[in-house]
């Protein structure tokens, strides 16, 4: 069993720098967990504590049923892929992959078969005699993965493994690592600052900020139900539009009036939520994802859409879609619309948003109103 349990993990660096505050997470066997957050959020520190490269200030880490706080990294049965690969420059690819097994005094024939098997899976057999210097970034990445694979560890740790690759290769390796996870069938813990990697690879993602976990959940769940403004704007690209508004009663219905006077209607379930929590007449924040703003004509009587009026500042043609950057008084918003749009800079535009696609946040705490 290779489930992990992190309980009340805290890391304080000398000089009272708190890197991780109170990290609690149960990781199931064979999960692909992605720790994601901006730099300095403590995600790498957390990973390094799991690896044993960083001392744990407080709390407990269990791998399986074993408390590993005081267990040497080599005895934790984990493998790690480093951001810059950390291949041994003076060893060939084969030696790099065999090194861990050799140190563990494994039988030579067994080492050979493991290295060749891993090389076969990663399609690097032809590179086995080369030194890391003679490899491209993508090839080094594969060797680093291979070196972790041959050990057959309980847990795979990866620290931003794709950040040194070019954009195209990154997309390709993303799917390869996801495939590798299926094939190896072990627990993966993956650190990244890139929300796309988190969304596409993780079975669950852990969003962190300033040493605290913000939210844990499947990518889709987190995307649909962000717990606060930070998560809402961190996950998704381009990021969610956050607008100020006031909860009002408008012809018998609870709605939100934006700064420019636009009225945003809500689903009845959300109306109830706001009333219950006593937000009537108060300022709140609403979140609308760019892809939920449409240019289409709708029937305001039959369809559950509200309309935002605004002026285009920049129209960015991406090919498969067009991003409209708009100004609503002082607030900037982005809409991801159909590429067939005729709208260009300085055009007036009406955008529709479905009532169900509106996220509500408290203005003070920035937490989702539930």
């Amino acid at each position: 069993m290779s489930n992990l349990s992190l309980r009340n993990i805290k890391k304080v660096y000398p000089g009272d720098v708190v890197a991780v505050r109170d990290f609690n997470l149960e990781i199931e066997d064979k999960e692909f967990i992605v720790l994601v957050g901006p730099s300095g959020c403590g995600k790498t520190t957390t990973l390094r504590m799991i690896a044993g490269l960083e001392e744990i200030t407080e709390g407990e880490i269990f791998i399986g049923d074993q408390l590993v706080n005081n267990i040497h990294p080599k005895d934790r049965d984990i493998a790690m892929v480093f951001q810059n690969y950390a291949l041994y420059p003076h060893m060939s690819v084969y030696q790099n992959m065999a090194f861990g097994l050799k140190l563990r005094k494994m039988d030579k024939a067994e080492i050979d078969s493991r290295v060749r098997n891993a090389a076969d899976i990663l399609e690097i057999e032809s590179l086995l005699d080369r030194k890391p210097k003679a490899l491209s970034g993508g090839q080094r990445q594969r060797v680093a993965l291979g070196r972790a694979m041959v050990r057959d560890p309980k847990v795979f740790l990866m620290d931003e493994p794709l950040s040194n690759l070019d954009a195209k290769l990154r997309v390709q390796m993303r799917t390869e690592i996801a495939k590798l996870h299926k094939r190896l069938n072990t627990t993966f813990i993956y650190v990244t600052h890139d929300q796309t990697e988190a969304m596409t690879m993780g079975t669950r993602i852990v969003i962190m900020k300033d040493g605290d976990i913000q939210q844990v959940g499947s990518p889709q769940f987190v995307y649909d139900n962000p717990v606060n403004v930070f998560v809402a704007s961190f996950i998704g690209s381009p990021q969610m539009n956050i607008l100020q508004g006031r909860v009002i009663e408008n012809s018998g219905k609870i709605a939100v009036e934006l700064l420019n006077g636009n009225i945003v209607n809500l689903s009845s379930e959300k109306e109830e939520r706001l009333t219950k929590a006593g937000y009537l007449g108060k300022d709140i924040l609403i979140g609308i994802r760019p892809e939920n703003l449409h240019e289409t004509e709708v029937d305001p009587l039959l369809d559950n859409y509200s309309t935002l009026t605004s002026v285009v500042e920049v129209a960015e043609l991406m090919g498969s879609e067009t991003y409209l950057y708009l100004a609503m008084l002082d607030e900037k918003i982005v809409a991801k619309v159909d590429p067939k749009t005729k709208k260009r800079a300085d055009d007036q535009v009406e955008l529709r948003v479905h009532w169900n696609r509106i996220h509500l946040f408290d203005k003070e705490t920035e937490k989702a109103i539930t």
Partner: protein, 294 residues
């Protein structure tokens, strides 16, 4: 025209250095060899051509072999102690647990290298002094009185005593070279090795040593050349004595040139020192290159 591709400008910029090297290094080497073919002294108005006579004499000279053996011992022990111990010390000081004490030890170990050799010589003469010396006093204090002796006065221990002083003086210097080299090794290599199952010893042998291989070669060459060129330590502490037991090539050169006033013979010894260091350096460089390509 691109300035960096202009060969004329490149040559022009290199010229000052080239002139210096030729004038003060290559020319004297050749001139020294030329001098070794003549019998002359500092007062003689003319030089007598003797061909390779001095070389024949040198190879039959028993003192030359004593000196050669002493130099070889000097170089051998220096390589083992300065390079070996220097590397180990540097690796220890770079270990996580020792890093906070590094500044203190680094300074302490390096300090002897900046002290003038005359001071060091006098200092160690006192330490080795049979009557008031620290070494004998220390041996007596721990009950090893039978090991006490006149360290520099006994032809059995004089050479090793001088060599020991050199190790004390220069191990710290070589250690600094290794500290710099080790600090350049990416930390992730050690971390990765740790996860791969490496303990302190395997980290040292599989990561540190191969990663500082270049520095090992360079410092081996430095200490080897130092071992064959050594003069001041010997001259200050024993001046080649007792008898000829601590004679080294350089002190023999000095004796031949300035005591016996046989400049030709002194030049011959100088040529031999050059030949030995030149050839051994070449061999070491070749060996390290072969190692790298393998």
């Amino acid at each position: 025209m691109n300035m960096y591709r202009n060969k004329k400008i490149a040559v022009f910029f290199m010229l000052p250095a080239v002139i210096f090297v030729v004038l003060f290094i290559y020319y004297p080497i050749i001139q020294n060899f030329f001098y070794s073919l003549f019998r002359w002294n500092s007062f003689s108005p003319d030089r007598v051509f003797v061909g390779l006579d001095y070389y024949r004499r040198l190879f039959k000279d028993p003192v030359f072999y004593i000196a050669l053996k002493n130099n070889a011992l000097y170089a051998f022990i220096s390589i083992i102690v300065q390079v070996g111990l220097g590397l180990v010390l540097a690796a220890i000081l770079e270990e996580k647990a020792f890093r906070k004490y590094q500044t203190f030890f680094r300074t302490t170990f390096f300090l002897p290298a900046v002290i003038s050799i005359t001071v060091v010589g006098l200092l160690w003469q006192l330490i080795y002094n049979p009557n008031i010396g620290l070494l004998n006093a220390a041996l007596k204090a721990i009950g090893l009185e039978n090991l006490t002796r006149a360290w520099l006065g006994d032809s059995k221990t004089a050479m090793l005593s001088v060599i020991a002083t050199s190790q004390w003086q220069y191990t710290g210097y070589i250690m600094i070279l290794f500290l710099i080299a080790i600090q350049k090794i990416p930390e992730e290599l050690y971390e990765s090795a740790m996860l791969d199952g490496a303990n302190a010893f395997s980290k040292f042998f599989y990561i540190t040593v191969p990663q500082v291989a270049d520095t090992i070669v360079v410092s081996m060459i430095i200490t080897m050349i130092g071992g064959f060129k050594v003069f001041d330590e010997v001259y200050v502490m024993t001046a080649g004595g007792p008898g000829r037991s601590t004679e080294v090539l350089a002190s023999y050169l000095y004796r031949s040139g300035f005591r016996n006033d046989e400049m030709g013979y002194a030049a011959t010894i100088a040529t031999i020192i050059f030949a030995i260091t030149f050839v051994t350096t070449l061999i070491q460089l070749k060996a390290s290159k072969a190692n790298k390509e393998e």
